[in-house]
């Protein structure tokens, strides 16, 4: 039977990728690195497992390359994490393999090709593409059901083989640990807020609604006014609340891609031609500094009743 090489840095993602391996009809062989390599669950996923105690790309790439040459898989599959995209794009470049990324659906799979869907034009559109095998496939999180752990696995530890790029330091990010993916209501904040302190308006609104606060990429990753796990969008988190209230957010496709699955979207923006109004159910054209205090007051009154 042909094999499918699964490359993952987190244990939860391995089981989803095993489902993808089954879809394309191959025997899963797993390379687990980073936190996945340290997981106590590795021994019970029911596949051949190689583990590698590394977190930066060069040693991961060296291990992937070795395994690729050894087992000649028909597909290399993993999630689209930054490490995976780094090492698997190199593998694709080395062997001129086609590489499908950010896959949201496998439409058709055979032993010679795979047809899948992915976002296009910053997810304002969908592309259906067909690639011959062997190929690299990066799948989105939570698209495929995790396979149930299928019993004992043989776990082999691989030696760490460094490359020319050396890891010389590590800086920790301050994360909030909030789970935006599970939130029922999210207040999203954007660059319409002029300074960090002003976000207290959003937090007050969120508290009244029992909501979490999320953000656009510049607010979280660039200005760091919020922890980076508040970052919503194509390169951040994908959320599915029943209500998303976007405040001072322009509606860039890369942000909206993260909230496509919200049931209701409300937009508060002072520019009536802001793109966000086309992607919202209810729009309020107003200065957030004037409107949020009024909305907060009205919600307090409602609560008091």
């Amino acid at each position: 039977m042909a094999s499918v090489l699964i490359v993952e840095g987190s244990i939860g993602e391995i089981l989803e990728s095993i489902t993808v391996a089954k879809l394309v009809g191959g025997e899963p062989v797993v390379l687990a690195y980073g936190s996945a390599a340290k997981s106590g669950d590795l021994g019970s996923i029911g596949a051949r497992v190689y583990k590698l105690d590394a977190i930066h790309p060069d040693p991961i790439f060296n291990a992937v390359k070795k395994l690729y040459e050894e087992i000649k898989p028909i597909v290399v599959v993993g999630h689209g994490s930054k490490n995976n995209r780094d090492v698997l794009s190199r593998l694709a470049g080395l062997y001129d393999l086609p590489m499908g990324t950010d896959i949201t659906k496998v439409v058709e799979a055979s032993d010679s090709y795979v047809v899948y869907e992915r976002g296009f034009l910053s997810e304002r559109a969908v592309a259906q593409e067909k690639v011959p095998l062997p190929a690299v496939l990066l799948v989105n999180a939570k698209v495929f059901e995790p396979a149930s752990p299928a019993g004992a696995s043989e776990v082999v530890e691989l030696p760490v083989e460094e490359g020319q790029v050396k890891l010389v330091g590590r800086l920790e990010k301050q994360l909030s640990g909030i789970n935006l993916e599970e939130a029922e209501i999210i207040v999203g904040v954007g660059r319409g807020f002029k300074k960090k302190e002003d976000l207290k308006l959003a937090f007050e609104l969120a508290e009244l609604l029992g909501a979490q606060v999320g953000a656009t990429r510049p607010i979280a990753a660039d200005y760091k006014w919020l922890p980076e796990d508040a970052w919503i969008g194509i390169s951040g988190k994908r959320v599915a609340p029943k209500l998303y209230i976007a405040v001072g957010i322009s509606g860039a496709p890369q942000h909206m891609a993260g909230v496509n699955n919200a049931k209701i979207i409300v937009a508060v923006n002072k520019d009536k031609s802001a793109p966000i109004f086309k992607f919202a159910d209810y729009g309020v054209v107003a200065d957030l500094y004037q409107f949020l205090p009024v909305l907060i007051k009205k919600l307090k009154e409602r609560k008091g009743q």
């Binding site: 977190i55 930066h56 790309p57 930054k82 995209r85 780094d86 698997l88 794009s89 190199r90 593998l91 694709a92 470049g93 080395l94 001129d96 590489m99 499908g100 990324t101 976002g119 296009f120 034009l121 910053s122 997810e123 559109a125 969908v126 592309a127 259906q128 593409e129 067909k130 490359g163 020319q164 790029v165 050396k166 890891l167 010389v168 590590r170 800086l171 990010k173 994360l175 209501i185 609604l209 510049p218 660039d222 194509i234 209500l243 890369q254 049931k263 209701i264 793109p275 109004f277 086309k278 919202a280 209810y282 054209v285 107003a286 004037q290 409107f291 009024v294 909305l295 009205k298 409602r302």
Partner: protein
């Protein structure tokens, strides 16, 4: 050594998506623009140039449909790259290379670098593009050139023939070091690109530009990926603007609407 290559993509503008009556995407009708994060890469090149002592070369590849229809867009994107700090531009455009996949793109770009900018120290690439957003070109090119690769750079410093990078990973930042030459993919956070000034735009027109075809590079494109279809993602949002004489009235109407929806 010393030159900096910046890969610049004339990308389909996702804010101006055009469709045909059957819901498929009208690629030829969507304007091209200089890709968003390419502006960050050009800004970084401008900052690193003096430390490396070479020139900044923008390398562009036309990808979408017949180049003949895109002359104006391609000229504009090339000019913008020059105005944003490139000293020279090399544009590859050829009917034969149109609609290629990432295998073709990376073969072409690696070949241009090897043949036309052999003295490079750095190749800077955006972490992802706004039209396809596959984020795989930088890694492919590094593998083809056989040089070190560092992705998702938030900070880049060069000194003593080495590059030191702060690389974004989801939950932490890695500090990585590599010998030059190297390929680096940059994030949007790395800097705040300044829009070009009038003088920079005027000077851009006088900078050297080269145009190449597939045969100049000796490449016969053999794409493997096939597009089955492109279709618009239909967003069915209500798009109701809540109006009222006062903000109080608007807030009340909004609360009522959300109660009716059963979401608060």
């Amino acid at each position: 050594m010393g030159d900096i290559v910046v890969l610049v993509k004339p990308a389909l503008n996702p804010d101006m998506v055009r469709t045909k009556p059957d819901g498929s995407i009208d690629i030829d009708a969507i304007p091209l623009k200089l890709d968003d994060i390419d502006a960050n890469a050009l800004e970084l090149a401008k900052q690193l140039k003096s430390a490396l002592g070479g020139k900044v070369v923008a390398v562009l590849l036309h990808k979408w449909g017949s180049p003949a229809r895109r002359n104006r867009d391609l000229r504009m994107v090339t000019q913008e790259a020059l105005a944003r700090g490139a000293d020279e531009a090399i544009l590859v455009s050829d009917e034969k290379l149109a609609d290629g996949d990432q295998i073709v793109t990376s073969q072409v770009l690696a070949e241009v670098i090897k043949k036309y900018v052999p003295e490079y120290s750095l190749v800077l690439v955006a972490e992802a593009s706004i039209d396809q957003t596959t984020g795989q070109i930088a890694g492919r090119i590094a593998a083809k050139l056989g040089v070190p690769f560092i992705s998702y750079a938030r900070k880049v410093e060069v000194a003593d023939g080495k590059v030191k990078v702060e690389r974004d990973v989801e939950d932490h930042i890695q500090v990585l070091e590599a010998p030059l030459p190297a390929v680096i993919s940059v994030t949007q956070e790395i800097n705040e690109p300044r829009p070009p000034t009038l003088i920079q735009i005027r000077r851009a027109a006088k900078k050297p530009q080269k145009k190449l075809t597939a045969s100049d590079l000796g490449i016969t494109p053999q794409p493997k990926k096939e597009v089955v279809q492109y279709r618009i993602l239909t967003v069915t949002r209500k798009q109701i603007i809540i109006e009222g004489d006062t903000l109080e009235e608007i807030a009340e109407k909004l609360i009522q609407a959300l109660e009716k929806e059963g979401v608060i």
